[in-house]
Protein backbone atom coordinates (compact mmCIF):
# COMPACT_ATOMS: atom_id res chain seq x y z
CA UNK A 1 0.00 0.00 0.00
CA UNK A 2 1.20 3.51 -0.81
CA UNK A 3 2.16 6.09 1.83
CA UNK A 4 -0.37 8.77 2.66
CA UNK A 5 -0.26 11.63 0.17
CA UNK A 6 -2.47 14.26 -1.47
CA UNK A 7 -0.84 15.76 -4.58
CA UNK A 8 -0.93 19.53 -5.02
CA UNK A 9 -2.15 19.77 -8.60
CA UNK A 10 -5.42 17.89 -8.10
CA UNK A 11 -8.91 19.02 -7.16
CA UNK A 12 -10.76 17.09 -4.45
CA UNK A 13 -14.35 16.15 -3.71
CA UNK A 14 -15.50 15.76 -0.09
CA UNK A 15 -16.51 12.13 -0.83
CA UNK A 16 -12.75 11.42 -1.16
CA UNK A 17 -12.41 11.55 -4.92
CA UNK A 18 -9.86 13.46 -6.94
CA UNK A 19 -9.95 15.08 -10.39
CA UNK A 20 -7.00 15.99 -12.60
CA UNK A 21 -8.16 18.67 -15.01
CA UNK A 22 -6.75 18.66 -18.55
CA UNK A 23 -8.57 21.43 -20.49
CA UNK A 24 -12.20 20.38 -20.82
CA UNK A 25 -11.42 16.80 -19.85
CA UNK A 26 -10.50 15.26 -16.53
CA UNK A 27 -9.22 12.04 -14.95
CA UNK A 28 -10.97 10.77 -11.80
CA UNK A 29 -9.87 8.46 -9.01
CA UNK A 30 -10.20 7.93 -5.27
CA UNK A 31 -7.90 9.51 -2.70
CA UNK A 32 -5.37 7.81 -0.47
CA UNK A 33 -7.79 8.27 2.44
CA UNK A 34 -10.58 6.51 0.53
CA UNK A 35 -8.51 3.47 -0.40
CA UNK A 36 -7.06 3.26 3.12
CA UNK A 37 -10.52 3.34 4.71
CA UNK A 38 -11.73 0.64 2.36
CA UNK A 39 -8.72 -1.66 2.72
CA UNK A 40 -7.40 -3.84 -0.10
CA UNK A 41 -9.49 -3.35 -3.20
CA UNK A 42 -10.37 -6.76 -4.63
CA UNK A 43 -12.96 -5.79 -7.22
CA UNK A 44 -13.46 -2.88 -9.59
CA UNK A 45 -15.63 -3.19 -12.65
CA UNK A 46 -15.05 -0.16 -14.88
CA UNK A 47 -18.25 1.63 -15.94
CA UNK A 48 -19.28 1.85 -19.62
CA UNK A 49 -17.46 4.22 -21.92
CA UNK A 50 -20.00 6.74 -23.19
CA UNK A 51 -22.10 6.83 -20.04
CA UNK A 52 -23.05 10.19 -18.62
CA UNK A 53 -22.11 10.85 -15.03
CA UNK A 54 -23.43 13.56 -12.74
CA UNK A 55 -21.49 15.59 -10.20
CA UNK A 56 -21.99 14.40 -6.60
CA UNK A 57 -23.66 11.16 -7.69
CA UNK A 58 -22.16 7.64 -7.60
CA UNK A 59 -20.86 6.47 -10.98
CA UNK A 60 -19.11 3.22 -10.04
CA UNK A 61 -18.12 1.04 -7.09
CA UNK A 62 -14.92 -0.30 -5.64
CA UNK A 63 -15.01 -3.30 -3.33
CA UNK A 64 -12.77 -4.61 -0.61
CA UNK A 65 -13.26 -8.02 0.99
CA UNK A 66 -15.45 -6.49 3.65
CA UNK A 67 -17.28 -3.64 1.95
CA UNK A 68 -18.63 -2.02 -1.18
CA UNK A 69 -17.93 1.67 -1.60
CA UNK A 70 -19.70 4.00 -4.00
CA UNK A 71 -17.45 6.28 -5.99
CA UNK A 72 -18.85 9.79 -6.50
CA UNK A 73 -18.36 11.90 -9.60
CA UNK A 74 -16.49 15.05 -8.65
CA UNK A 75 -17.76 16.69 -11.87
CA UNK A 76 -20.40 15.99 -14.53
CA UNK A 77 -19.53 14.67 -17.97
CA UNK A 78 -19.31 11.73 -20.34
CA UNK A 79 -16.90 8.85 -19.76
CA UNK A 80 -14.41 8.67 -22.65
CA UNK A 81 -12.00 6.08 -21.28
CA UNK A 82 -11.89 3.60 -18.40
CA UNK A 83 -8.92 2.00 -16.65
CA UNK A 84 -9.28 -1.64 -17.69
CA UNK A 85 -5.97 -2.46 -16.02
CA UNK A 86 -7.36 -1.37 -12.65
CA UNK A 87 -10.26 -3.72 -13.34
CA UNK A 88 -7.86 -6.61 -13.93
CA UNK A 89 -5.55 -5.71 -11.04
CA UNK A 90 -7.67 -3.80 -8.53
CA UNK A 91 -4.82 -3.66 -6.01
CA UNK A 92 -3.37 -0.95 -8.28
CA UNK A 93 -5.95 1.37 -6.74
CA UNK A 94 -4.27 0.85 -3.35
CA UNK A 95 -0.72 0.88 -4.65
CA UNK A 96 -0.92 4.00 -6.80
CA UNK A 97 -4.22 5.81 -6.22
CA UNK A 98 -3.22 8.95 -8.15
CA UNK A 99 -1.29 7.25 -10.94
CA UNK A 100 -1.92 3.78 -12.37
CA UNK A 101 -4.93 3.46 -10.08
CA UNK A 102 -7.00 6.11 -11.88
CA UNK A 103 -10.57 5.03 -12.66
CA UNK A 104 -12.06 6.98 -15.59
CA UNK A 105 -11.43 9.86 -17.99
CA UNK A 106 -14.31 12.22 -18.63
CA UNK A 107 -15.25 14.95 -21.12
CA UNK A 108 -16.58 17.63 -18.80
CA UNK A 109 -20.14 18.89 -19.29
CA UNK A 110 -19.48 22.15 -17.47
CA UNK A 111 -15.83 22.96 -16.71
CA UNK A 112 -16.94 25.83 -14.45
CA UNK A 113 -18.03 23.20 -11.89
CA UNK A 114 -14.37 22.89 -10.92
CA UNK A 115 -14.87 26.01 -8.82
CA UNK A 116 -16.93 23.94 -6.40
CA UNK A 117 -14.15 21.44 -5.68
CA UNK A 118 -11.55 21.63 -2.93
CA UNK A 119 -7.89 22.37 -3.39
CA UNK A 120 -5.39 20.21 -1.53
CA UNK A 121 -5.28 22.53 1.50
CA UNK A 122 -9.04 22.57 1.90
CA UNK A 123 -9.26 18.78 1.45
CA UNK A 124 -6.56 18.12 4.07
CA UNK A 125 -8.41 20.44 6.45
CA UNK A 126 -11.58 18.42 5.87
CA UNK A 127 -9.70 15.21 6.69
CA UNK A 128 -8.35 16.71 9.90
CA UNK A 129 -11.78 17.89 10.96
CA UNK A 130 -13.42 14.53 10.30
CA UNK A 131 -10.79 12.67 12.38
Amino acid sequence: MADESYPDGLLYHPEHDWARIEGDSATFGITWYAQDSLGEVVFFEPPEVGSEIVKDEPYTEVESVKAVSDVYAPLSGEITEVNEKAGESPETINDDPYGDGWLVKVRLADPSQTGELLDVGAYKKLLEESD
Binding site: G39, E40, V42, F43, E45, E63, V65, K66, V68
Partner: protein, 361 residues
Protein backbone atom coordinates in the same frame (compact mmCIF):
# COMPACT_ATOMS: atom_id res chain seq x y z
CA UNK B 1 -14.07 7.10 12.36
CA UNK B 2 -15.29 7.40 15.93
CA UNK B 3 -16.59 4.43 17.85
CA UNK B 4 -19.41 4.66 20.37
CA UNK B 5 -18.17 4.96 23.93
CA UNK B 6 -20.41 2.25 25.36
CA UNK B 7 -18.68 -0.54 23.45
CA UNK B 8 -16.85 -3.12 25.51
CA UNK B 9 -13.18 -3.84 25.00
CA UNK B 10 -11.32 -7.11 25.36
CA UNK B 11 -8.16 -7.31 27.54
CA UNK B 12 -6.17 -7.08 24.30
CA UNK B 13 -7.53 -3.71 23.19
CA UNK B 14 -4.20 -1.91 23.71
CA UNK B 15 -2.32 -4.76 22.02
CA UNK B 16 -4.59 -4.40 18.98
CA UNK B 17 -3.94 -0.68 18.81
CA UNK B 18 -0.20 -1.35 19.06
CA UNK B 19 -0.43 -3.89 16.23
CA UNK B 20 -2.08 -1.31 13.97
CA UNK B 21 -5.61 -2.74 14.07
CA UNK B 22 -8.63 -1.13 12.46
CA UNK B 23 -11.29 -1.50 15.16
CA UNK B 24 -15.02 -1.78 14.49
CA UNK B 25 -18.11 -2.36 16.61
CA UNK B 26 -19.09 -6.04 16.64
CA UNK B 27 -21.66 -7.64 18.96
CA UNK B 28 -21.23 -4.84 21.49
CA UNK B 29 -17.44 -5.01 21.45
CA UNK B 30 -14.82 -2.89 19.79
CA UNK B 31 -12.99 -5.56 17.79
CA UNK B 32 -10.13 -5.63 15.28
CA UNK B 33 -11.44 -6.16 11.74
CA UNK B 34 -7.95 -6.18 10.23
CA UNK B 35 -4.34 -5.23 10.85
CA UNK B 36 -2.03 -5.53 7.82
CA UNK B 37 -4.95 -6.35 5.49
CA UNK B 38 -7.54 -9.10 5.21
CA UNK B 39 -5.81 -10.85 2.31
CA UNK B 40 -2.45 -10.98 4.04
CA UNK B 41 -3.97 -12.23 7.32
CA UNK B 42 -6.01 -14.83 5.46
CA UNK B 43 -2.92 -16.16 3.68
CA UNK B 44 -0.95 -16.23 6.95
CA UNK B 45 -3.56 -18.58 8.44
CA UNK B 46 -3.74 -20.79 5.34
CA UNK B 47 0.03 -21.01 4.92
CA UNK B 48 1.66 -20.29 8.28
CA UNK B 49 0.00 -19.22 11.55
CA UNK B 50 -2.36 -16.46 12.63
CA UNK B 51 -3.81 -15.45 15.99
CA UNK B 52 -7.30 -14.07 16.57
CA UNK B 53 -8.62 -12.41 19.71
CA UNK B 54 -12.02 -14.01 20.22
CA UNK B 55 -12.45 -12.86 23.81
CA UNK B 56 -15.81 -11.37 22.89
CA UNK B 57 -17.28 -14.86 22.79
CA UNK B 58 -19.30 -15.93 25.83
CA UNK B 59 -18.66 -18.79 28.24
CA UNK B 60 -21.15 -20.56 30.47
CA UNK B 61 -19.95 -22.92 33.14
CA UNK B 62 -22.31 -25.69 34.22
CA UNK B 63 -21.43 -27.83 37.21
CA UNK B 64 -23.13 -30.19 39.60
CA UNK B 65 -24.68 -33.64 39.68
CA UNK B 66 -27.28 -32.68 37.08
CA UNK B 67 -24.94 -30.65 34.88
CA UNK B 68 -24.95 -33.31 32.17
CA UNK B 69 -28.72 -33.67 32.32
CA UNK B 70 -29.26 -29.91 32.01
CA UNK B 71 -26.98 -29.66 28.98
CA UNK B 72 -28.34 -32.85 27.41
CA UNK B 73 -31.82 -31.33 27.60
CA UNK B 74 -30.74 -28.02 26.02
CA UNK B 75 -28.09 -29.01 23.48
CA UNK B 76 -28.77 -30.91 20.28
CA UNK B 77 -25.78 -33.27 20.36
CA UNK B 78 -25.52 -36.40 22.51
CA UNK B 79 -23.73 -35.28 25.64
CA UNK B 80 -23.26 -38.88 26.77
CA UNK B 81 -20.64 -39.14 24.03
CA UNK B 82 -18.65 -36.24 25.46
CA UNK B 83 -15.81 -37.63 27.56
CA UNK B 84 -13.78 -35.71 30.12
CA UNK B 85 -11.25 -33.70 28.12
CA UNK B 86 -13.45 -33.73 25.03
CA UNK B 87 -15.11 -31.04 22.92
CA UNK B 88 -18.48 -31.20 21.19
CA UNK B 89 -20.33 -28.96 18.76
CA UNK B 90 -24.09 -28.56 19.03
CA UNK B 91 -27.06 -26.33 18.38
CA UNK B 92 -29.26 -24.70 20.98
CA UNK B 93 -32.84 -24.88 19.70
CA UNK B 94 -36.27 -23.59 20.57
CA UNK B 95 -39.16 -25.99 20.91
CA UNK B 96 -40.01 -25.47 17.21
CA UNK B 97 -36.46 -26.41 16.20
CA UNK B 98 -35.44 -22.83 15.43
CA UNK B 99 -31.72 -22.33 16.11
CA UNK B 100 -30.92 -20.02 19.02
CA UNK B 101 -27.17 -20.49 18.72
CA UNK B 102 -24.42 -22.89 17.78
CA UNK B 103 -21.87 -23.64 20.44
CA UNK B 104 -18.89 -25.70 21.59
CA UNK B 105 -19.05 -27.52 24.91
CA UNK B 106 -15.91 -28.70 26.67
CA UNK B 107 -16.13 -31.29 29.44
CA UNK B 108 -13.61 -30.20 32.05
CA UNK B 109 -14.40 -32.78 34.75
CA UNK B 110 -16.99 -35.43 35.44
CA UNK B 111 -19.59 -32.84 36.38
CA UNK B 112 -18.11 -29.58 35.08
CA UNK B 113 -18.67 -28.24 31.56
CA UNK B 114 -17.75 -25.05 29.77
CA UNK B 115 -19.93 -23.95 26.85
CA UNK B 116 -18.66 -21.27 24.45
CA UNK B 117 -21.36 -19.13 22.87
CA UNK B 118 -21.40 -16.62 20.07
CA UNK B 119 -20.70 -13.08 21.22
CA UNK B 120 -24.07 -11.82 20.02
CA UNK B 121 -25.91 -14.49 22.06
CA UNK B 122 -23.90 -14.58 25.26
CA UNK B 123 -26.60 -13.08 27.49
CA UNK B 124 -29.59 -14.82 25.93
CA UNK B 125 -27.88 -18.23 25.88
CA UNK B 126 -27.00 -17.95 29.55
CA UNK B 127 -30.57 -16.93 30.44
CA UNK B 128 -31.99 -19.77 28.35
CA UNK B 129 -29.72 -22.37 29.97
CA UNK B 130 -30.33 -20.99 33.47
CA UNK B 131 -34.08 -21.02 32.91
CA UNK B 132 -33.98 -24.64 31.78
CA UNK B 133 -31.95 -25.74 34.79
CA UNK B 134 -34.62 -24.88 37.35
CA UNK B 135 -35.17 -27.61 39.89
CA UNK B 136 -31.96 -29.35 38.88
CA UNK B 137 -28.84 -29.85 40.96
CA UNK B 138 -26.73 -27.74 38.66
CA UNK B 139 -25.02 -24.41 39.10
CA UNK B 140 -24.83 -22.26 35.98
CA UNK B 141 -22.49 -19.32 35.89
CA UNK B 142 -21.93 -16.69 33.23
CA UNK B 143 -18.16 -17.06 32.99
CA UNK B 144 -17.77 -14.69 30.03
CA UNK B 145 -15.60 -12.27 31.96
CA UNK B 146 -13.40 -15.01 33.45
CA UNK B 147 -11.70 -15.77 30.19
CA UNK B 148 -9.83 -14.20 27.37
CA UNK B 149 -9.84 -16.42 24.28
CA UNK B 150 -7.26 -16.64 21.54
CA UNK B 151 -7.56 -18.76 18.41
CA UNK B 152 -4.17 -19.83 17.04
CA UNK B 153 -4.76 -21.25 13.59
CA UNK B 154 -2.75 -22.42 10.62
CA UNK B 155 -0.39 -25.22 9.59
CA UNK B 156 2.30 -23.93 12.00
CA UNK B 157 -0.10 -23.19 14.89
CA UNK B 158 0.52 -26.37 16.83
CA UNK B 159 4.30 -26.11 16.57
CA UNK B 160 4.19 -22.53 17.76
CA UNK B 161 1.99 -23.25 20.80
CA UNK B 162 3.88 -26.48 21.57
CA UNK B 163 7.04 -24.39 21.85
CA UNK B 164 5.40 -22.24 24.53
CA UNK B 165 4.25 -25.11 26.74
CA UNK B 166 5.80 -28.08 28.53
CA UNK B 167 2.82 -30.34 28.14
CA UNK B 168 1.40 -32.15 25.17
CA UNK B 169 -1.17 -30.35 23.06
CA UNK B 170 -4.63 -31.92 22.82
CA UNK B 171 -5.68 -33.66 19.62
CA UNK B 172 -8.52 -32.25 17.52
CA UNK B 173 -11.76 -32.03 19.49
CA UNK B 174 -9.90 -32.62 22.76
CA UNK B 175 -8.82 -30.25 25.53
CA UNK B 176 -5.93 -30.04 28.00
CA UNK B 177 -5.12 -27.74 30.91
CA UNK B 178 -1.57 -26.56 30.31
CA UNK B 179 0.75 -23.65 30.97
CA UNK B 180 1.19 -21.57 27.83
CA UNK B 181 3.81 -18.80 27.95
CA UNK B 182 3.80 -19.17 31.74
CA UNK B 183 0.03 -18.80 32.11
CA UNK B 184 -2.55 -21.42 32.88
CA UNK B 185 -4.67 -22.13 29.81
CA UNK B 186 -7.43 -24.44 28.74
CA UNK B 187 -6.09 -25.52 25.37
CA UNK B 188 -8.74 -26.78 22.95
CA UNK B 189 -8.17 -28.52 19.64
CA UNK B 190 -10.85 -26.49 17.90
CA UNK B 191 -11.13 -23.59 15.49
CA UNK B 192 -13.16 -21.81 12.85
CA UNK B 193 -10.81 -21.55 9.89
CA UNK B 194 -10.55 -25.01 8.33
CA UNK B 195 -6.90 -25.16 9.41
CA UNK B 196 -5.35 -27.12 12.22
CA UNK B 197 -4.72 -25.20 15.41
CA UNK B 198 -5.85 -24.61 18.96
CA UNK B 199 -7.98 -22.21 20.91
CA UNK B 200 -6.70 -20.94 24.25
CA UNK B 201 -8.98 -19.96 27.13
CA UNK B 202 -6.88 -17.93 29.54
CA UNK B 203 -7.09 -15.57 32.48
CA UNK B 204 -7.77 -12.06 31.11
CA UNK B 205 -4.78 -10.82 33.12
CA UNK B 206 -2.47 -13.12 31.14
CA UNK B 207 -3.93 -12.27 27.76
CA UNK B 208 -1.32 -9.73 26.75
CA UNK B 209 1.58 -11.96 27.83
CA UNK B 210 0.30 -14.90 25.81
CA UNK B 211 -0.58 -12.69 22.82
CA UNK B 212 2.92 -11.16 22.83
CA UNK B 213 4.55 -14.58 23.05
CA UNK B 214 2.53 -15.77 20.04
CA UNK B 215 3.46 -12.68 18.03
CA UNK B 216 7.11 -13.08 19.03
CA UNK B 217 6.87 -16.64 17.74
CA UNK B 218 5.81 -15.33 14.35
CA UNK B 219 2.00 -15.47 14.51
CA UNK B 220 0.31 -12.89 12.31
CA UNK B 221 -2.45 -10.98 14.14
CA UNK B 222 -5.68 -11.59 12.24
CA UNK B 223 -9.03 -9.84 12.56
CA UNK B 224 -12.70 -10.45 12.01
CA UNK B 225 -12.33 -9.82 8.27
CA UNK B 226 -10.00 -12.79 7.74
CA UNK B 227 -11.98 -14.87 10.23
CA UNK B 228 -15.00 -14.42 7.98
CA UNK B 229 -13.28 -15.23 4.68
CA UNK B 230 -11.54 -18.27 6.21
CA UNK B 231 -14.70 -19.76 7.69
CA UNK B 232 -16.80 -19.10 4.60
CA UNK B 233 -14.28 -20.82 2.32
CA UNK B 234 -14.78 -23.98 4.40
CA UNK B 235 -18.54 -23.36 4.79
CA UNK B 236 -18.65 -22.98 8.55
CA UNK B 237 -21.85 -21.25 9.61
CA UNK B 238 -22.02 -17.76 11.04
CA UNK B 239 -24.92 -17.40 13.44
CA UNK B 240 -27.19 -14.54 12.43
CA UNK B 241 -26.16 -14.87 8.77
CA UNK B 242 -26.42 -18.55 7.90
CA UNK B 243 -28.92 -19.58 10.54
CA UNK B 244 -31.24 -18.03 13.08
CA UNK B 245 -34.47 -18.91 14.89
CA UNK B 246 -36.29 -19.14 11.53
CA UNK B 247 -34.13 -22.11 10.47
CA UNK B 248 -33.81 -25.59 11.94
CA UNK B 249 -30.57 -27.61 12.04
CA UNK B 250 -31.67 -29.92 9.22
CA UNK B 251 -32.15 -27.04 6.78
CA UNK B 252 -28.85 -25.57 7.95
CA UNK B 253 -27.00 -28.81 7.23
CA UNK B 254 -26.34 -29.38 10.93
CA UNK B 255 -28.29 -32.61 11.30
CA UNK B 256 -24.99 -34.34 12.08
CA UNK B 257 -24.86 -32.62 15.47
CA UNK B 258 -28.44 -33.47 16.40
CA UNK B 259 -29.25 -36.59 18.43
CA UNK B 260 -33.05 -36.50 18.55
CA UNK B 261 -33.24 -39.66 20.70
CA UNK B 262 -31.92 -37.64 23.66
CA UNK B 263 -35.15 -35.63 23.71
CA UNK B 264 -33.49 -32.21 23.68
CA UNK B 265 -35.64 -29.10 23.41
CA UNK B 266 -36.68 -28.97 19.76
CA UNK B 267 -35.87 -32.64 19.09
CA UNK B 268 -39.39 -33.46 17.92
CA UNK B 269 -39.34 -30.64 15.37
CA UNK B 270 -35.86 -31.66 14.24
CA UNK B 271 -36.93 -35.31 13.91
CA UNK B 272 -39.89 -34.22 11.80
CA UNK B 273 -37.71 -32.05 9.56
CA UNK B 274 -35.24 -34.90 9.13
CA UNK B 275 -38.02 -37.35 8.37
CA UNK B 276 -39.87 -35.19 5.88
CA UNK B 277 -36.73 -33.73 4.34
CA UNK B 278 -36.20 -29.99 4.40
CA UNK B 279 -37.98 -27.77 1.87
CA UNK B 280 -34.84 -25.70 1.63
CA UNK B 281 -31.19 -26.38 2.29
CA UNK B 282 -28.19 -24.19 2.93
CA UNK B 283 -25.95 -24.53 -0.12
CA UNK B 284 -22.56 -23.17 -1.05
CA UNK B 285 -22.02 -21.45 -4.38
CA UNK B 286 -19.26 -19.72 -6.30
CA UNK B 287 -19.58 -17.08 -8.98
CA UNK B 288 -18.35 -18.34 -12.32
CA UNK B 289 -17.40 -14.86 -13.52
CA UNK B 290 -16.14 -11.76 -11.76
CA UNK B 291 -18.01 -10.11 -8.90
CA UNK B 292 -18.60 -10.37 -5.18
CA UNK B 293 -21.89 -11.64 -3.75
CA UNK B 294 -23.00 -9.93 -0.54
CA UNK B 295 -25.49 -10.90 2.18
CA UNK B 296 -29.14 -10.27 1.13
CA UNK B 297 -28.41 -10.30 -2.61
CA UNK B 298 -31.21 -12.14 -4.40
CA UNK B 299 -30.44 -15.57 -5.86
CA UNK B 300 -32.17 -16.11 -9.21
CA UNK B 301 -32.99 -19.17 -11.26
CA UNK B 302 -34.07 -17.84 -14.62
CA UNK B 303 -36.65 -15.14 -13.88
CA UNK B 304 -37.48 -16.54 -10.43
CA UNK B 305 -36.12 -15.23 -7.20
CA UNK B 306 -35.28 -18.49 -5.42
CA UNK B 307 -33.38 -17.33 -2.37
CA UNK B 308 -31.12 -14.83 -0.73
CA UNK B 309 -27.38 -14.80 -0.03
CA UNK B 310 -26.78 -15.41 3.70
CA UNK B 311 -22.99 -14.95 3.58
CA UNK B 312 -21.00 -13.71 0.62
CA UNK B 313 -17.50 -12.45 0.09
CA UNK B 314 -14.41 -12.50 -2.08
CA UNK B 315 -12.44 -15.70 -1.44
CA UNK B 316 -8.77 -14.81 -1.05
CA UNK B 317 -7.70 -18.46 -1.52
CA UNK B 318 -9.79 -19.09 -4.64
CA UNK B 319 -9.75 -15.58 -6.08
CA UNK B 320 -13.50 -15.64 -6.80
CA UNK B 321 -16.78 -14.56 -5.25
CA UNK B 322 -18.30 -17.18 -2.94
CA UNK B 323 -21.32 -17.48 -0.70
CA UNK B 324 -24.08 -19.51 0.83
CA UNK B 325 -27.86 -19.37 0.41
CA UNK B 326 -30.96 -21.36 1.33
CA UNK B 327 -32.41 -22.93 -1.79
CA UNK B 328 -35.19 -25.40 -2.53
CA UNK B 329 -33.83 -28.92 -2.43
CA UNK B 330 -34.15 -29.39 -6.20
CA UNK B 331 -31.82 -26.42 -6.72
CA UNK B 332 -29.34 -27.55 -4.08
CA UNK B 333 -27.42 -30.07 -6.19
CA UNK B 334 -23.80 -29.17 -6.98
CA UNK B 335 -23.54 -27.99 -10.57
CA UNK B 336 -26.89 -26.18 -10.55
CA UNK B 337 -26.56 -22.92 -12.50
CA UNK B 338 -27.94 -19.80 -10.85
CA UNK B 339 -27.49 -16.06 -10.91
CA UNK B 340 -26.91 -13.65 -8.07
CA UNK B 341 -28.37 -10.17 -8.34
CA UNK B 342 -25.50 -8.04 -7.08
CA UNK B 343 -26.93 -4.54 -6.82
CA UNK B 344 -28.78 -4.82 -10.12
CA UNK B 345 -26.20 -6.86 -12.05
CA UNK B 346 -26.87 -10.54 -12.58
CA UNK B 347 -23.73 -12.54 -11.87
CA UNK B 348 -23.64 -16.18 -12.97
CA UNK B 349 -23.07 -18.65 -10.14
CA UNK B 350 -22.95 -22.40 -9.62
CA UNK B 351 -23.85 -24.54 -6.63
CA UNK B 352 -20.71 -26.24 -5.33
CA UNK B 353 -20.10 -29.06 -2.90
CA UNK B 354 -18.92 -28.13 0.58
CA UNK B 355 -16.34 -27.10 1.57
CA UNK B 356 -15.57 -24.59 -1.17
CA UNK B 357 -11.90 -24.62 -0.26
CA UNK B 358 -9.93 -27.80 0.38
CA UNK B 359 -6.35 -27.87 1.56
CA UNK B 360 -4.00 -28.69 -1.32
CA UNK B 361 -2.68 -32.25 -0.91
Amino acid sequence: MSVAADLRRTPLYEAHRAAGAKLVPFAGFEMPVSYAGVGEEHRAVREDVGVFDVSHMGEVQTRGLDAAAVLQHALSNDLDKLEVGGAQYSCLCRDDGGILDDLFTYRLDGDRYLTVTNASNRDTDFEWLAEHSHGRDAELRDAGDDYAMLAVQGPRARDLVAGLTDGELPQRMRTAELEVAGSRALVCGTGYTGEDGVELLIDPESATTVWDALLDGGATPAGLGARDTLRLEVCFHLYGNDMDVERNPIEAGLGWCCAEQTGFIGSEAVARARDEGPAERLVAFALTERGIPRPHNAVMSGADRVGEVTSGTHSPSLGIGIGMAYLRSELAEPGTELEVDVRGKLRPARVESKPLYKRPE
